[in-house]
Each structure stands twice: as C-alpha cells, then as structure tokens.
C-alpha cells in the first residue's frame, strides 16, 4: 500500500468527494522502494526452489505475480481466491486473467480513469483507522471504569467476595465507533514541540524524528496519555529505536526465498484483520504486504518460524508502517522485545508471562486466585490469545493502539499489566458465589470495550510505575526460568 494512502487513512476520514486521483489502489511499483518492485519483464514465473513443495511454491508465485499485475478493485472489492481449497494450477499467464488489474500498474504511468462509484462509497465510509465496517464480536461487554479508580495493592481485601446478587457485566450490541480524543489537537501541537527532525532526505522531508532533549522527562506521561494518531507512525519508530538498536535486515532478499510456512500464512492472510480497507481485497496490496512481511519473518528464526498470532501483529504494524519497516519492527519485537520466547515452540514466554500474572493475582487478589483454583480455570485457557496477539481482537482497535504506544516504551510487562487490569475490573464476578468454570471463562474470553480508555491506561501506568512491583516482576520472571530449569514448572501454574 502507498504511503500516501496510509497517511490519508491515518489522519481524518476522507471527505465525501475526493480529488482525482486521491488514492491509488494499484501498487505503483516504481515509486515504492519498499514494495517487492519486480520489473514485469523479469517476473512471471519464479522457479521452485530445491525441495519446495508445489503448494508452497504456488502460493509464493501467485503473490509475486500479483505484485506485478495488481488486483482489480483493490480496496473496494473482495477479490477472488486463487491459492486455497483445490489448488488448481494458474493459467500460464496470470496477466490475461480478468481479475488482475489492468490500469496503470506495470508501466508506472498515472491512472486516468474516474473513480468507481463503489470506490467512492467505500472510501467515504471508512473510519479514522481505515475500517469500513467494524468487525462484530460475540460476547461484547462493557469494561467499567469504576474498579480502576482504585489502584492495585497487596492485602487490601479489595477482592473479597461481594454478598448478594451481582449485576452481570453489561453487554453491548456493537463496538462504538472510534472518536478522536477531545484533546487531540492540543496534543498534536505538544508532540510537535517535543519531537525534532533527526534525519531528512535529499528533498528535506523528515525521515526520522527524535525527542528534544529538554523534553525527555515528558515522554512517558505523554505516551500513556495517548499518542495523537497523526504522530503515531513517527512515535512508534522513535520509541522502538530508543528501546532497541535499529536492525537492518534485507527484507527484499527474504521475499525471494522459499518458506515452508507459506501455505499456512496464505491461509491466515485473508482472515487476519477483517473490516480494514487495506486488507479487504484478496491479494490486494495490503494482503500481499501482509503475506510478504510474514513470509520474510518466518525465515528469520528457525525456532519461531511462523505462528498464528503473528498475523494480527503484522497487520497492525502494516496499518502504520510500510512493509519493510513493519518487517524491521517485527524483527525488533522478536529480538529486543523478547517475542522470540512467546512464539517459539512450547511458548516459554507465554508461560512466563502467565506465571507472573498469577503471582501478582495471588498477592493482590488472593480471592480471585482461589476462585480460579476452585473452578479449575487455567490461565492458558483465556490468556493465550492475549499474549500471543498482544491484545489484538480482544479490545477495540483504538484501545489496542493505546496499549501498543505504551508497549514500545515499557516492553512485555505492559501486557501482564493489562491482563491483571482485566482481572481487577471483574474481580467481583470471578469471586462471586454464583461463579463457575463457565461463567468465569466466558467472561474472560470476552471482547472488552473500556468505558474510558484514559482511566484504563492510567490504571496500567500506576501499576507499572510501582517500582517495588516492577522489581517483583523481574524476580518472578527469573524464578519461573529456574522452575523450568529444575523441571518444576509443570505444577507451578494454575
């Protein structure tokens, strides 16, 4: 997808009438260095690598060819399936097929046609993040702010079972549409003053930013308050650079290599992030980027390869960053942010996070802990997807972005804190005398819509600002690793 398009999606919803050509839905290959810009005369047919299975090659080859020809109606049509079910061989030249794009992709010349009415209709209905429909979820419930007015503490008896009838969590008919924060404009100018250009390209455009030295003390608070969406791409980049040395990997080189995970990745690409305009069209620019980023990432680490769960993470990154940067970010996540341990076989990092979560629960919400024990609710049953997808598809996209703002700053502890926050909010339901295995698990498998994101983030900020707790978290992480080493881990979790 074009940077231009991404920027447009990010800022404000597009006005009903758009200048022509506003958004180029076909990949303009020559102008986008991070795309797999293959010269058409060189492409159609890749050669299978030694030992590569036909299915896997077929997947890789299809994406490579469509990268050149584009897909008809990219962004406003659903597209046609080519790699799934009966894997029929492609016609010898995919270019002759009626579903590849025919306008202005290969030659780099600008499109002359008018916008399709359906394109205009779709574009005018996208929200500020790029969703043309807000995906529906089962078990949508309101996550109230009231419990979060009190911070997490030990021995406060805050989770003592409540006598009498308890109101069940309020369910919502749909996810409310995302609204800009009332202070968004004010914050945009604050971030304007806080960040200064670090690197400029030849034309003087800013390529990277850094924090003005006199403002470094303000970064943390302002990240928790929420990064204005217009600044998000730059800020994520700044925070990640601060967290880890920037890695440079040759993304394009990886795309050319085969991966044994291609068939699985291809299966997951179209079902990763529904409702988002970038990823709607089968084999559209967005789905291709997602495929390529995941493909390249699957080759990075032999142990991790590809795991379901990487998809939503990559898709979120791709809605802010061009493919090569999304890939670089995944590499940093893998190495510097320790996601390697989350993804690798046996999910050691997941179990460690769960152990820490349980230790905090045991100390700060002993009744909740006992209730889990009594009803035999193991933490993996509900928290696996929280940690493996970093809370994608568990909270509204807008909330997920707020959590990620903080994640770049703090690392994986954030998600432990989010998990603890959820338990904290619903402690009454979990400890209720009427609670059972089903009510608890059903509740914790919900999609959580925070009543007030600021309150939610504030609570997490307070929790993670507690130095004693942070020190304990470090200790528990080490403790878990020792338990694993001595083979005592099997009985240490709920």
């Amino acid at each position: 997808m074009q940077d231009e398009q991404r920027r447009k999606l990010r800022s404000t919803p597009p006005p009903p009438s758009l200048p022509t050509p506003p958004v180029n839905f076909s990949p303009a290959l020559k102008s986008h260095p991070s795309n797999v810009s293959l010269n058409p005369s060189l492409v159609p047919s890749l050669v299978p690598s030694f030992g590569e299975e036909f299915d896997a090659f077929h997947v890789r080859n299809t994406y490579a060819q469509l990268e050149v020809f584009g897909v008809k109606g990219d962004g406003y049509e659903d597209g046609v399936e080519r790699t799934r079910a009966a894997r029929t061989r492609l016609p010898s030249s995919i270019a002759n097929s009626p579903n590849t794009s025919t306008n202005g992709t290969g030659d780099g010349s600008p499109k002359k046609r008018e916008l399709h009415p359906k394109e205009i209709q779709i574009l005018s209905s996208v929200d500020r993040y790029g969703f043309f429909t807000i995906p529906s979820h089962d078990r949508l419930i309101l996550m109230p702010s009231q419990p979060m007015l009190k911070p997490l503490s030990t021995g406060s008896g805050a989770d003592a079972p409540v006598a009498g009838e308890l109101k069940s969590p309020r369910s919502l008919p749909r996810v409310p549409p995302p609204l800009p924060h009332p202070k968004e404009a004010e914050r945009i100018s604050k971030w304007n003053r806080m960040l200064v250009p670090n690197v400029r390209d030849e034309g003087g455009n800013v390529q990277a930013w850094r924090v003005r030295p006199s403002k470094t003390a303000k970064v943390r608070r302002r990240v928790y308050k929420g990064v204005p969406d217009r600044w998000r791409a730059a800020v994520w980049e700044v925070l990640m650079c601060a967290y880890a040395e920037r890695l440079s990997r040759d993304y394009r080189e990886a795309i050319e290599k085969p991966s044994t995970y291609d068939v699985q990745i291809d299966l997951d690409v179209p079902r990763t992030i529904s409702g988002h305009i970038m990823f709607r069209t089968r084999y559209g620019a967005g789905q291709r980027s997602l495929f390529h980023v995941l493909h390249a990432f699957s080759l990075l680490c032999d142990a991790c390869g590809y795991v379901q769960g990487m998809g939503p993470i990559a898709a979120t990154l791709l809605s802010y960053l061009p493919p090569s940067l999304a890939y670089t970010s995944l590499v940093r996540l893998h190495t510097a942010y320790d996601m390697h341990t989350i993804f690798s076989p046996g999910f050691p990092g997941l179990l460690e996070a769960i152990y820490v979560q349980e230790q905090i629960t045991k100390r700060c919400m002993p009744n909740v802990y006992e209730s889990f024990k009594k009803h035999m609710v193991s933490t993996t049953a509900y928290a696996t997807k929280w940690y493996i997808t970093l809370f994608s598809n568990t909270v509204p996209f807008q909330t997920q972005l707020r959590l990620w703002d903080v994640f770049w700053l703090e690392g994986l502890d954030v998600f432990v804190a989010v998990a603890v926050a959820v338990l904290w909010v619903y402690k009454d339901q979990i400890t209720s005398p009427h609670a059972n295995f089903e009510t608890i698990l059903s509740l914790l498998s919900s999609f959580f819509v925070p009543e007030d994101e600021d309150v939610f983030l504030n609570w997490i900020e307070k929790m993670l600002g507690d130095r004693k707790l942070r020190a304990s978290i470090r200790t528990w992480r080490l403790e878990w690793r020792q338990l694993v080493q001595s083979g005592q881990d099997a009985t240490a979790l709920l």
């Binding site: 009966a86 299966l267 079902r271 493996i388």
Partner: protein, 205 residues
C-alpha cells in the same frame, strides 16, 4: 470435584482452515461469517441439548489448527467425552492429517479405553464446487470404518448442511461415554456428594 452429571465436554480438532470455528458457531449460534479469525489457543461455547435420555449441556472446545498450539492442549483434552475430527473435503492433506489428530488426542487425553473412545468425523465444506473435491465420501467412509466404525457426516458450516445432525450424534456419543467413564470414577473415594449429581442420576439403579 465439579458435578459431571449433565455436562459433556467435546473437543473439536483438525487442520488449520478446515472450518472448526465455523462449524461450532453454525451449531451454537446458527450463523456463518467469513470474518472468523484463526483461533489462537482455544475457545469454547456451550449449548443446551435435548437427548432422549436427558437434557445435557455441551461444552464445545474449539482449538487452534496450527500444530504448535498442541503443547497447550493437554490441559483441556482431559476429561473429554467426545472428540470431533474435522477435515475439508477439498483438501486431501487435511484428511490425511486425521490419523495424527486422533493419535495425538488419545495420547494427551489418556481415556480408560482408547479403542472405545467416541470420535465423530466431519467432512466439511461440501458446498464448494464438486470439481474441487479431493476426498470422496467412499474414501472417508472407509477410513471411519477402519477406525472402529466412526460416525461420518458430510457438512457445510456455510450452508448449514448436516451440522445439527452431526452434533446431535456427538451429544449422544458423548453421553454414552460419560456414563461409562462414570463407572470408572465411581469407586469408593468419589461418591457423588453433590445434590445435583444425585438428582440427575437418581433412577439408574
């Protein structure tokens, strides 16, 4: 111990993308969506079912199809009353994988009589064009026969074909299994003390 009286635990297994989540949702919520995401870890839904014997609550566990998630499976395979094996009739590979899904399940869940444990096999996506079909009914039936005459259904979660019938059979098989497992667990140290338990199994002697 939680009362096991009328609660049946069912595990749904099969390769990634064969339609496990869709089948479960079609059965429980009577709807199909193209928006289902890959299942990470596991998810569950419950459904109240009437059988000839008595009403039961089925606890359906939908699992991740990617093999790596198997390591997290152990915890909830235990105590399962029936296992549903799903493949896609348009994917030979997903059919061949049934063997290892079955074996893996038996190892992890360690039922008392592995040979007798009830499996139900579903060949899903029969709505897809016949020309794309890779697994014939005959081939699927032959395999089910060889594995101890397992019930086999050709389903479509999308068009709601045979879904209800298939899960009705699952309920009946699970109920039979549950009563048999009860025999093993009703040794002296575990008399049912729970009042619900006594009520619902009151007339069996």
């Amino acid at each position: 111990m939680t009362p096991r009286s009328a609660l049946l635990k069912v595990i749904i297994l099969g390769d990634s993308g064969v339609g496990k989540t869709s089948l479960m949702n079609q059965y429980v919520n009577k709807r199909f969506s193209t928006q289902y995401k890959a299942t990470i870890g596991a998810d569950f839904l419950t459904k109240e079912v009437e059988t000839e014997e008595r009403p039961v609550t089925m606890q359906l566990w939908d699992t991740a199809g990617q093999e790596r998630f198997q390591s997290l499976g152990v915890a909830f395979y235990r105590g399962a009353d029936c296992c549903v094996l799903v493949f896609d009739v348009n994917s030979s590979k997903s059919f061949q994988a049934l063997e290892s899904w079955r074996d893996e399940f038996l190892i992890q869940s360690s039922p008392h009589e592995p040979e007798e444990f009830p499996f139900v096999v579903l060949g899903n996506k029969v709505d897809v064009d016949e020309s794309k079909r890779q697994v014939t009914q005959k081939r699927a039936l032959a395999w089910c026969q060889a594995k101890g005459n397992l019930p086999y259904f050709e389903t479509s979660a999308k068009e709601a074909i045979n879904v209800e019938q298939a899960f009705q059979t699952v309920a009946i098989k699970a109920l039979q299994q549950e009563s048999e497992e009860q025999l093993f667990s009703d040794y002296p140290d575990s008399f049912p003390l729970d009042p619900h338990e006594t009520q619902s199994s009151g007339c069996s002697c």
